[in-house]
Symmetry: C2
Subunit: 407 residues, 2 copies
């Protein structure tokens, strides 16, 4: 609903500002605020400014009205949290799990962690919704993982139904980059932005795209799958997706590690020493050496940054975002990489599209995934259709919601 979206986005607000920003009539805004107060979702804040007569109270969003469960699943670990409706983490657990162990074992571990964070609360907690972020492509409408390269056994597994039945609450599933983008949009670097994009640089490369304030998921939910764009026509490097010359295969963390091993084998001293100490090299080692001025590593990282920057320059022409957020382990680790990305984007894009384009790092750090998953759940919970039903029923969630559970 426009009024609630506006207050969530802008924080405590004067009624007149809500009217101005939403373009809705004063009477309608007053009615909506009354409906939302009834549900406990907004409350009267500080006294506003009087324009003659009694000063009206500002309106503030009440994140404490409800609770959601969030799990952000990576390749080798999971973050689990109980959060309020602003995505604030009230209780938090991190544990090692191998996503490759398959859905039954992993979802059972997540349930155990959910129960732990719930047990930390005083008294029973009404869970309004559950969310799961996963490291693979998701068909958002059905909540099913599709063709996941690093998630054997997960294809089409009913994750949504698993948690919906267990916690009697609606459940949503999305990929890790989309939820990270949502977290940064609500509470991080992209706060207040309507047209933004995130690239997560880790083992692979993925993107989250925000158009007019909403996450763009595409027709089947695979929007933002930029790791498999074709980066070099002349490349013979095979990607784990089966194609050749994908951006991820040439400039992702795995690619940097592979090229680093090749440099070490060819006699690069800094990397060879590191390889001897550790037995293997990963992207962090290459970025570390580049940061210390090793010329071959600076060149390697620069090449990766250029390929990523070329993809982003294309994105700038497609989408004209005002902000690009660089997230993920690899992005956080290297100024050399960020400089190369920035340079390529600004050099290859039209001035009109970049004159107000900001390129920046993510803000939320290690909690970003869990915050993002909580944000996804809250966004879906507070959708216009569900709010209308709640207003009609006179209370949030409850029996109607449970009767409508998927499965």
């Amino acid at each position: 609903m426009a009024v609630l979206d506006d207050v969530r986005r802008h924080g405590e607000s004067a009624r007149a500002d809500i009217v101005a920003r939403t373009g809705l009539g004063r009477t309608l805004v007053t009615q909506r605020i009354a409906d939302l107060q009834e549900l406990g979702l907004v409350s009267a804040g500080d006294l506003g400014v009087s324009t003659g007569g009694r000063a009206p109270r500002n309106v503030r969003f009440c994140p404490e009205a409800g609770r959601v469960l969030a799990a952000d699943l990576g390749a080798t670990g999971v973050d689990v949290a109980l959060a309020d409706l602003a995505g604030n983490l009230l209780a938090h657990r991190r544990d090692d799990v191998e996503v490759a162990a398959g859905p039954e074992s992993v979802l059972s571990s997540i349930s155990g962690l959910f129960d732990e964070v719930l047990a930390e609360s005083d008294g029973p907690v009404p869970v309004w919704g559950v969310g799961v972020g996963v490291p693979g492509p998701v068909e958002f409408g059905s909540g099913r993982v599709v063709a996941p390269p690093i998630m054997p056994g997960w294809a089409d597994y009913p994750i949504r139904e698993y948690f919906a039945e267990r916690y009697r609450a609606p459940t949503w599933v999305d990929n890790d980059v989309n939820v990270l983008m949502l977290g940064e949009l609500r509470a991080g670097a992209a706060r207040g932005h309507s047209n933004a994009m995130m690239v997560k640089l880790g083992t692979g490369i993925g993107a989250g795209i925000v158009v007019d304030g909403r996450l763009c998921r595409g027709a089947q939910g695979s929007a933002g799958d930029v790791g498999h764009t074709h980066a070099r026509r002349d490349s013979t490097v095979a990607c784990r997706c089966g194609k050749v010359g994908c951006l991820e295969a040439l400039a992702g963390g795995l690619a940097m590690a592979r090229e680093g091993m090749a440099l070490a084998a060819a006699g690069n001293e800094m990397l060879a020493r590191r390889l001897q100490e550790r037995g293997t090299l990963d992207a962090a080692d290459v970025l570390w050496a580049a940061g210390r001025g090793d010329q071959s590593c600076v060149e390697l990282v620069g090449r990766c940054g250029m390929l990523i920057g070329e993809m982003l320059s294309t994105a700038v022409h497609f989408l004209n975002p005002a902000l690009i957020v660089l997230a993920g382990r690899v992005a956080a680790a290297s100024d050399v990489l960020l400089a190369a990305i920035r340079q390529t984007v600004y050099a290859q894009s039209l001035p009109f599209a970049t004159r107000r384009l900001e390129i920046t790092g993510a803000e939320l750090g290690a909690d970003g995934g869990a915050i993002g998953v909580a944000t996804m759940v809250v966004d879906e919970l507070l959708s216009p259709g569900r709010l209308s039903a709640w207003i009609a029923a006179g209370s949030p969630a409850g029996a109607a919601e449970i009767a409508a559970l998927p499965g």
Copy 2:
């Protein structure tokens, strides 16, 4: 408003279907329908199916409730129309104008044509809104043309204010590809789609992008400017934008003409004959020769199609559309080109993103631009904020609207 959007999109509908599709409560839908009937925007249609008791009347959108003026301006001509709220053209004029003659002369010609189509109606016509499509980038929020390569003198000219004052009606301006996409979305090849994309292949190359049913314009309105994506790293061909290796400079209509001239000079018989007959060659000649099997032209057109297909494959990974519409003179003229584009998109994209992807031609033909402009105006007129104001005022458009005119 969700209810009106739903009826506009799905045509005459049973109330139960509107409830199901919008996710809104039955009471709210009934209230909204009553509000819309009051404004004359919907009316009772055929008898629906009874589910026990009296059968409810279906609901239908009333495009005849209002009128809009639409002008679609190209490099050397303009289409002007009076349209209803469904984008049906009620009166239509086409005239030669040179956009390079500058805004004062061109807008005066358009006004004259607007007056002509208005004069065709019986009695006075209340114009609810005015729209203009232009062959250059537009900052949609302000309606100003920005850095237009083929529109000298137009930068920052107040087109919106010009028509808003003359017709006492709100006015919107957007670029030609966006309006074409809107037309195909409402009434053409993309009807019923929520995630789609159009590429217009003419002298230049541009795209229109639809995400979740809405046109994506980006932060400054330059989204879809795909002609200036970097198509070849090794290219030295300069683009009219000032960069090197842009898609448009290598695969646009102008590029095909340039390469065709080079082929003719190098002794290509079919093109040399054509050049002698006409004194010059354009893209149509190259496409014609390719269609008749000339090997060099088939190769040239195939190369252009591959470059366009590579850009589209990247778009598929970014946006996961369900449909790509190929529009414009060049696309319409050549099966060889379309085949090369299709082949590249399917070969370079992940199967998950393309398994339900359709690539098709535009449907609306020469009227597409005017229909699209009318559609843009209607979409803006029937936005939630404006509808709320109309419902509060008890009638559409009127005094409140005119008081809020820009400028």
